[in-house]
Amino acid sequence: MKNIKKLWDIMGNVYLSVYLIVGIVINGGILYFLIKNYPHLFAPINNIGLIEWAKTYGLSYMKYTCYFFLFLFFLLLFCINMFICTTQKIISIFRTSYKNKLSRLSPHIMHYAVILILLGFLINYLFSKTNTIILVPNIKRCVFNNICLSLQDLNIKYSHTKRLFFWDKRAISCNAKIKIEGFKNTIYKTIGINSPGIYKIYSFHLRDFSPKITSGMSSKEYVVLTVKKDYGIFFYLLGTFMFIFGLLIYVIG
């Protein structure tokens, strides 16, 4: 019990917070240059997830990827430290009768929000499943064994304004109507660039499409979709809103 108390005090040390932030800044700076020079080593994390990436790219290119592991370690320590510090402060705020409690709580709301956001990211990279498929009209393709998708309609608008002269005859918007089977009911979603279809924990993102240009040789119609099964979204969205709420009180108050 004494050891746990000692560990709790060490991990909640305020000096440790500052040292960890310094560590994150230095490590973040190194990672900036590594990702700039070797983006192909880090890009697969988004598709294959953190564990698979660590087993393959992570271990094979340890010389470069060790900084990423170190960064994750710093973030983990930072979260533990922040949780302990914040919890101690919140207990003391509630024990004391302050006039403006919400204003005093605002930094701590942000601290908890950061933990939630990072937890959401971790869940995303550990447990989310990603599949990328190409759909052509009226041909069914299945992902995750049970969800079948087919392209029902593709509506592409092309730019013809002089204002966007460099974008002339290029696609300026794209909407694809997708039929999704495999859930209780068959559902239809119209998705576009930056406008995914979301159903429960599944999201359907339009990554690419064709034809993009009206002039020249006409190419076949197709869309490239990323289907994502993401468990972390609720955490990082909740964390984001909590952080903005805390930040507004902190800045205005």
């Binding site: 700076g29 900036y32 966007l164 974008w167 930056n194 995914p196 993102h205 984001t240």
Partner: protein, 252 residues
């Protein structure tokens, strides 16, 4: 032709930013404010042309046009509401440096891409520049305080600017997160190095706000730490927006 106009206006703006700095050094307030307003006006026009030919897409590779303008506007807002102790020569030196840097080392022109067609991309783009402009203003205030060797500004004034910087940079990061999620389903796209440039700058200034926990740090040390932040901003935010050396043109 239109893009040349945009570039041309920016080059002229950089001349007026330089004149502002020179006149501020000569302590002729009347002319330096006049030059500053002309520079901002020209810079604003170059940005409007840039936006006019991009919207609904975001000119995400044309950050260099926006940085001196937004920094100058943030400084004018600060000068209007806050201190008369702030020297325009210090403030205009950064405008002058940034505009000349982007004038002589312009980045290659890249077209905006379709994925930027969302309000979140615009917020990500613009709020980051506003946030960094507040940090740059803090750097100027700290430098002036160090050089004058008097505590002519209270630390709370600098801290307030940092808070606003963090506020805007956080809005930018969250907008980027939502944009990335809408586009690819991942809140962070790890193959993009700019993710880590944002993280590095954000954590640096978050760390600065937590320095009160280490009670031994005095004002001068804090000023040096903020100036360290300026080096970080230069490496991770300003330098990536520069390109190879080019002799700028001033005629159509």
């Amino acid at each position: 032709m239109v893009f040349n106009m945009d570039k041309l206006l920016f080059n002229w703006a950089s001349i007026f930013y330089t004149l502002t700095f020179i006149w501020a050094l000569l302590k002729s307030n009347k002319y330096c404010y006049l030059f500053y307003f002309i520079a901002i006006f020209l810079n604003l026009f170059s940005v409007i042309i840039c936006l006019y030919h991009s919207i609904p897409l975001v000119p995400i590779f044309q950050k260099s046009r926006f940085i001196p303008l937004i920094y100058s506007l943030v400084c004018l807002l600060f000068l209007k509401h806050k201190h008369k102790n702030v020297s325009l020569s210090y403030i205009s030196s950064v405008s002058c440096f940034l505009s000349l840097l982007f004038c002589f080392f312009p980045k290659d022109f890249y077209l905006p891409f379709l994925q930027t067609k969302t309000i979140f991309a615009f917020l990500f783009f613009i709020c980051e520049i506003i946030g960094v402009s507040f940090y740059l203003l803090c750097g100027v205030l700290s430098l002036q305080r160090l050089v004058s060797k008097n505590a002519i500004f209270e630390q709370s004034i600098i801290n307030n600017q940092i808070k606003w910087g963090i506020f805007f940079q956080t809005i930018s990061m969250f907008s980027g997160e939502i944009w990335s999620y809408l586009n690819s389903g991942s809140p962070v796209v790890l193959q993009d190095a700019s993710v880590f440039s944002c993280i590095t700058i954000w954590f640096y200034f978050i760390g600065f706000l937590h320095l009160y926990l280490l009670k031994k740090i005095d004002l001068h040390q804090k000023d040096f730490i903020i100036l360290g932040g300026m080096i970080i901003i230069f490496i991770f935010f300003i330098y990536p927006e520069t390109g190879p050396f080019t002799i700028p043109g001033f005629l159509p």
